[in-house]
Every structure is written in structure tokens, then in C-alpha cells.
Amino acid sequence: MAFSLQQGPFFVKSMLFRWLDSDVGHSFRTSPTAILAAVIAAICLFCAVFAPWVAPHNPFDLTTLELSNARLPPAWSEGGNTSFFLGTDDQGRDILSALMYGARISLAVGMASVILSVFVGVAFGLLAGFLGGWIDAVLMRLCDVMLSFPAILVALLIAGVGRALFPNAHESLAFGVLIISISLTGWVQYARTVRGSTLVERHKEYVQAARVTGVAPLRIMRKHVLPNVMGPVLVLATIQVATAIITEATLSFLGVGAPPTSPSLGTLIRVGNDYLFSGEWWITIFPGLMLVLIALSVNLLGDWLRDALNPRLR
């Protein structure tokens, strides 16, 4: 199979080729956990992405809501209605549809913050590892400082500051602040991992050969070192998506995350919490279960990926 490495993000393509290589593919095919986790994650992803088309109702379209449908229990219990399969909340919104829309927000925020963290972390790690000296020292001290703050507190701080600065902010700004606050502590582990791998790769002879040829350092970093250090990063990123989603849920639960007009799973949990003790358990439990399901399947996938890649990709 001949393919040109000059086109496109070649390292992504070659990584993909490596993954579809029989060893890893075989490991996937023989691991029931991995397959199950992948299926569940795929379903959640599908529902989230295609929510407007898949969900039975649009719970955030005020014109379709009827207060008479409020607080209906799930379809299989007494008083339930099959068109609201998992029941409704206090305003008549269908829980199942709210789950899908909420998952959408959660996944989008989770993935966006991970992508941002990866970008910043890998760049810093590469620079620190390759250039060394004072750049390395400064960046690593920055990492140490970032790690000494608890992630939630940092997120709360940024979110609070954001709200104070832009009180009438448009929704997208609120999301932007949310994504930044989650990614702010996440980048550190990528930076450290990449720095470690870069320090190893830097002394390898193919890098020295490039230097002898006269290739510029930045180019060496980008074309030679980067493709070889991305392995552990991708494993970390997969697991981190779950963490990011939970962090976002926590923030939304605390009220500083997603705005109530486009609630994420965390917001739904918070809203439903108030009704827990009056017996309407479905309003908070189902969003909670959905969150657990997404986080668990992504975590399991990440675990499998780490084991599958580890002994073979050295």
C-alpha cells in the first residue's frame, strides 16, 4: 500500500494506519470490554450529534411545552406516557430528549476542552523538551504552579471572573469561558508526558541525522519528534474526555457551567436534584446515569487503548 506522506496531516494518517494494523485491531476485536465500551460510546455520540433529528421532542422549544405534561413518571410506571419514555420534568420537558441535547453539550464541551489542552500541552512539552535550558525551566515551573491549584477552583475562578466581566454575555462566550477554564488545568499532563518523550527522542540518532543534514530545529520538532511522541498523548486524551465531561457537569451543577437555556447533563442533574425528595426521582437520576455511562465507556476505551498500544508501540 503506497501512500504519500506529503499530503495533509501526515502524522494523523500514519497513526491511523498504525492503529488499523492488525495487532491493535486484533486486540480490539478480542476484548469484549473494548467492543462494548466502543458501542456504548458510539451510541451516545450518535444521539448527541444527531439529537435534533433523533430526539422524540425538542425540550427547549418553548412552543411545544405543555405544563399539563409536567412531572410525568417514566413510561413503565403508573401514570406514565409512552411518548415521554423516561418521564418529564417540572416544565413538561421530555427527559429522554433532554438527555440527548444535554449529552450534546457535555460531549461538545468535553471534547473541545481536551482538544485545546492537547494543543497547548503538546506545544509546550515539545518546546520544553527539545529546546531545554531556561525555556524548559520556565515551562516546567508553570506546570508545577498550575498543578498546585485544584482544577475546580480554577474553573470556578475563571468562570466567576468571566461572568463579572461580561454580565450580559452571549451564550457562546459563556461556553468559551467554560471550555477555557476546564482546559486550563488539563494541559499540564500532556506537557509533562510530551516533554519526557521528547527528551528521549531528542537523543535518538534519527534526530541527530536530521541535525547533521542541517534541518532547522523547529522543523525537526514538528516532522520528526512530534509523530513519535503522540502515542501516549492520544491515550491520555481519550481518558481525559471523560474527566472533562465530569468537570463540566460539576461546574454546571454548581451553577457556573452551561447556561440554563442550553443545559448540559450537569445542569439537568442540578435541576432535578430539587425534586429528588418529593419522589420525582427520574428527573435527576436519568441524566446522572447518562453521565456515568458516557464517562465509563470513554474511560474503558482509554484503558484498552493504553494496553493495546503499550507493548507493541515502542
Binding site: 500500500m1 503506497a2 506522506l5 502524522f11 500514519s14 535518538k204 540518532e205 534519527y206 541527530q208 541525522a209 536530521a210 541535525r211 547533521v212 543534514t213 542541517g214 534541518v215 520528526h224 509523530p227 513519535n228
Partner: protein
């Protein structure tokens, strides 16, 4: 050696490289540790004529790999320098024109598994110097050149789409050679190119290197710890110990009549396949810590001929009977 200045392609003069291996600054201040300097190379001078091979031999810690890296511009010397084709190489490396120099000097490394980027195809690996120096403009010409280079090292041009892990150690080393030859260099620095290879593969690679040298008039600096291989490939041999050159002679002279006690010890220590019944001079001691080299002559603690002068005064390399030796005992005619 005669003092007539033959136009040597490579002339190294008093090359020296010191590494600072001290503990981090904070540790040093808090624990009162001194600065630690590693004199990897301490004043090495030699010349290589065009089309010839100089081999540098020595055991671990002698600095031969550092010399190799100094000659390709991977390190900056702390003292001394080398001239390539008459001009100061390290000064040239710093200028934009220095890039032209990089086309003429190339390197082959020891580890066939680490010297090729595992994520690149063979074509990209070999073509990198061509693309970097913009030697050939269009892709078709580059492909053709890569195919030619693969053929010249005994591989097939069809191999260029494969990845390094699909090749054996010997084949990877050939790919490294092909990459080094891409820019038509004149001088190749080879750092233990066959040490990691099996004997039969080593024979193949050494034969290719010799053939290429004959065909293209290449000049080699060949680093090795294997004296038998060195005997096969070199014209001149330099023996290094703890960063210093202790003997420099042409091949036959060195192997037939070694002068320096360390050279004699090395030659004696090689396990021989034939005539194994011969008695050998006992070998004593180990290579000292390069961070803390002995005073005077670095070899004196292990030398059977050492005297008081040897432990206090560092011997200078001198021409004695057509051979360059750094030894008081040889100079004084004691051995």
C-alpha cells in the same frame, strides 16, 4: 611523518570538548558541590587525506564518539577546531553558507534501529537531505535519485515505500548509508556502523562501504572498538584513551609494531580465533573515571612501564620513527 603539508581534506587541530555535568545550580549551592567538568576530548590532532580512511579506536569513555560528533558539527569545540578543504569548518557551520558544508560532510550512526525515524517511509528518509538542500526540484527526479541510491547499497528501489520496521538491522544500516550519500558528500564520519550487526551482515555492510569508497573517492573517519574490523577498513589508525590520542600510525605499522603500552595491551586483549595457546601479558585495572582522570599520563596507573615522570607530566604527542606517540617511555627509549 614528513612535514610537507599535503593537502589533507580534513585537518583537526587540538580539538577539545568539555562537558559541564555539574549538578543543578540550586543543588550545588545548597550542598556545596563543586562544578564537574567532563573532558571528553582533550587535544586531538590528525589529518585525513582525500580518499583515505582514518580509524579511531578505543574503549568506552575514550572520546571517539565525541570526536565524530565534533567533526559533523553536532557539537561546538571548546578549544581547537578542524579545517575542511582548507577552510575553518566550525566558523562555516555558523554562516548561511555553512549549509553547503553540510552537504559535503555526512554521518552514519551505530544503532540501526534508532537512526531511522520509525514513522517515515524509506523514501522520505533518504530524500530528506535532497529536499532540505533543494538539490532536486521535482518529485519525479527525487524518486529517481532515491531509487538509484537504494540500488547502490544493494536494496531494491521498490523498497522505498516501506517503513523501517520492515527491514533487518543490516538493511537499515544500508538505508542509513544511502541517506548519507544522497548529497554526494566527500567526507563520511562513521560511528561504529557495524558494531550492532551480526558478523555475516557486518561483512556485507563493510564490503559495500569499501566499494563505495573506491567508486566515489570518499574519505572516511571510521570509529570502532573492534580492532579486527579496523584493520580491514582503515589506512591510518589512531588510538584514543580518556580523550587523548596516544598513538597515530598507518595501519601496518600500528598492528605489526605497536609502540604505546596501551596499544599493545589492546592488541593483546583481543580474543583470537587462531593460535589461542599463546601466553599473554596480564591486563590490569580498568578505565578510570573520566571525571577524575589520573594526573600526568592518563594511562600511568595501568602501565607496566610507568615511572615518576609519567605520573606528573602529561606526554605530548611526538613523531618517533614515523609514528606519532604520546609516551614518555617510548620517547626515552625505554621500550
Amino acid at each position: 611523518m614528513s612535514e610537507v603539508k599535503t593537502k589533507a581534506l580534513v585537518r583537526a587541530t587540538d580539538l577539545a570538548k568539555t562537558f559541564d555535568v555539574s549538578a543543578p545550580w540550586l543543588n550545588r549551592v545548597l550542598e556545596g558541590q563543586p562544578k564537574m567538568l567532563l573532558r571528553a576530548v582533550d587535544g586531538v590532532s590528525f589529518e585525513i587525506e582525500k580518499g583515505k580512511t582514518l580509524a579511531l579506536v578505543g574503549e568506552s569513555g575514550c572520546g571517539k564518539s565525541t570526536v565524530a560528533r565534533l567533526l559533523v558539527g553536532l557539537y561546538e569545540p571548546t578549544r581547537g577546531g578542524f579545517e575542511f578543504d582548507g577552510e575553518d569548518a566550525h566558523a562555516a557551520f555558523k554562516t548561511p553558507e555553512g549549509r553547503k558544508l553540510r552537504r559535503r560532510i555526512q554521518m552514519i550512526f551505530q544503532d540501526p534501529y534508532a537512526s531511522l525515524n520509525p514513522r517515515w517511509t524509506v523514501e522520505d528518509i533518504i530524500a530528506e537531505p535532497l529536499r532540505e538542500h533543494e538539490i532536486l526540484s521535482d518529485e519525479a527526479a527525487v524518486k529517481e535519485r532515491v531509487g538509484e541510491l537504494l540500488k547502490s547499497v544493494g536494496l531494491s528501489p521498490l523498497d522505498m515505500v516501506k517503513f523501517p520496521h520492515q527491514f533487518s538491522g543490516g538493511q537499515r544500516q544500508r538505508i542509513s548509508i544511502a541517506r548519507a550519500l544522497a548529497t554526494h558528500p566527500e567526507f563520511l564520519v562513521c560511528d561504529e556502523p557495524t558494531s550492532a550487526l551480526d558478523v555475516s551482515v557486518q561483512a556485507q555492510v563493510l564490503n559495500i562501504m569499501k566499494d563505495l569508497q573506491r567508486q566515489q573517492g570518499l574519505t572516511y573517519l571510521f570509529i570502532s572498538h573492534n580492532l579486527a574490523v579496523v584493520r580491514h577498513v582503515s589506512d591510518q589508525v589512531g588510538v584514543m584513551y580518556l580523550g587523548r590520542l596516544v598513538e597515530l600510525a598507518d595501519k601496518h605499522t600500528l598492528f605489526d609494531t605497536p609502540r604505546h603500552p596501551y596499544t599493545r595491551m589492546l592488541l593483546d586483549a583481543i580474543p583470537k580465533m587462531h593460535d589461542t595457546g599463546k601466553a599473554r601479558t596480564p591486563v590490569s585495572g580498568e578505565v578510570p573515571n573520566p571525571l577524575n582522570p589520573p594526573s600526568g599520563c592518563a594511562f600511568h596507573p595501568r602501565c607496566p612501564h610507568a615511572n615518576a615522570r609519567c605520573s606528573s607530566e602529561r606526554p605530548q604527542i611526538q613523531a618517533i620513527a614515523g609514528v606519532k606517540v604520546a609516551c614518555h617511555a617510548v620517547e626515552e627509549g625505554r621500550i
